[in-house]
């Protein structure tokens, strides 16, 4: 691999690096642009658990929307528990307040027997819409996000993918 890199002209090498940087920054800008458009810190999430089955399975891709802060009962929201950084996708089953008062929500997974009171932070019985909720689910694509679950669960896959990409770069030089 390094041999083929060394064989490149300096200009060619620079162009190659710039091209790679362009691809990376385009992807990053698209993500951040979508983030601004949806007003959500993570506008696309991958489902990590079976708590919303059979609607959402592990690996399904969800599109979030966070404008229109008056979340209604029956909406599926993604929230982060205070002090933990795991996004949870569950349905709103109770709402209190809103308007001039802060909006409090209670959530439950469609496939969980009990509501989420046990999941929340120790002194918390309801979610605060403006602080805890990342967005409301508006779109669904099955299975596409499974690759991210595979990558995080089987670290050797990451290595395999890197080797494959490096190999393809070398092969395409020839």
């Amino acid at each position: 691999m390094f041999g083929s890199l060394a064989a490149l002209q300096p200009r060619q090498l620079a162009a190659q690096i710039l091209n790679f940087a362009l691809v990376l920054s385009t992807a990053f800008m698209l993500w951040k642009g979508l983030s601004v458009f949806t007003n959500s810190s993570s506008p696309i999430v991958v489902v990590l658990s079976g708590s919303m089955e059979p609607a959402f399975q592990r690996g399904d891709l969800l599109f979030l929307w966070n404008r229109g802060i008056e979340t209604q009962v029956g909406e599926v929201v993604v929230y982060n528990v205070r002090g933990k950084d795991i996004p949870i996708v569950h349905r709103v089953i109770r709402r209190f307040g809103g308007g001039s008062a802060p909006l409090s929500l209670l959530t439950k997974g469609d496939n969980n027997a009990a509501d989420d009171t046990e999941l929340y932070a120790h002194d918390q019985s309801y979610l605060d819409r403006s602080k805890d909720v990342v967005g409301s689910v508006v779109g669904f694509v099955p299975f596409v996000g499974y690759v991210t679950i595979l990558l995080s669960e089987y670290p050797w896959l990451k290595t395999a993918m890197l080797i494959f990409m490096a190999a393809s770069v070398v092969l395409q030089r020839e």
């Binding site: 089955e53 029956g74 209190f96 307040g97 027997a113």
Partner: protein, 253 residues
Amino acid sequence: MHNTLTRVQNVFGFFTSVAFAVAAAIAVSVVLSAQSPSASLELRNVQVVKGRPHYYSTKREEYAHVKFDLDADLSTLFNWNTKQIFAYITASYPSSDPSTIPPSEAIIWDAIIPANNALSHQNTYIHPYTKADTKTKPKKPTKKSKKDKTSKPYPAGTQPGILRLPNQKPKYQITDISSKIADRGNATLRLHWNVQPWVGALVWDNRKTVGRWQGLKGGETKFDFPALKGTEGIKKEDLKVETGGERNRGKPA
């Protein structure tokens, strides 16, 4: 360059573009399918009693137990892109300051109604047989057929989305954030649904007609929460709740 790798890359690229185009076409085309849902929802009985949020809690709260009659035809909501419908009934009641704070709302009953071509899953709603059903279909579901993987939660020949539930128990006893729910007037019981697609946008119920989707007529009823009752005067069976098919035992996230 026509080596194997570029060929594989081209084939994979073409496959993803075609898959994306087909998925987009399916997701958008649902606006063409006509919908005409109808429902009638009546309150059967509502009781308010004192209770605890869970067994080990010392907190005493007021809980409302709402029984209802539902007669709904949501069968037209099932089209080529419907995986399931999450049907739910909410009770909403005015907040402490109705002029600036919208009404509070809570789900009292819900059910996951799968489409006919959806994979079978334990967490889908199995519609109970009524007497009228057993007359027309003498074959009662045996235990064996319930366990059968291919069996559908509907009696043969009937469509998904038809709900006839007389004197239905709630799935959830509800309380207010203030723990007090007795004697609240001007409450509404309302049927809602969430159509969950195979691919594309999630859709909720519409009361107004949009294009080919007719708005829901009916499915709404007014009531008042009664005064608090002592638990001595009420039989335990009257406060039972329906158990759903939820079976998640993994990580709750």
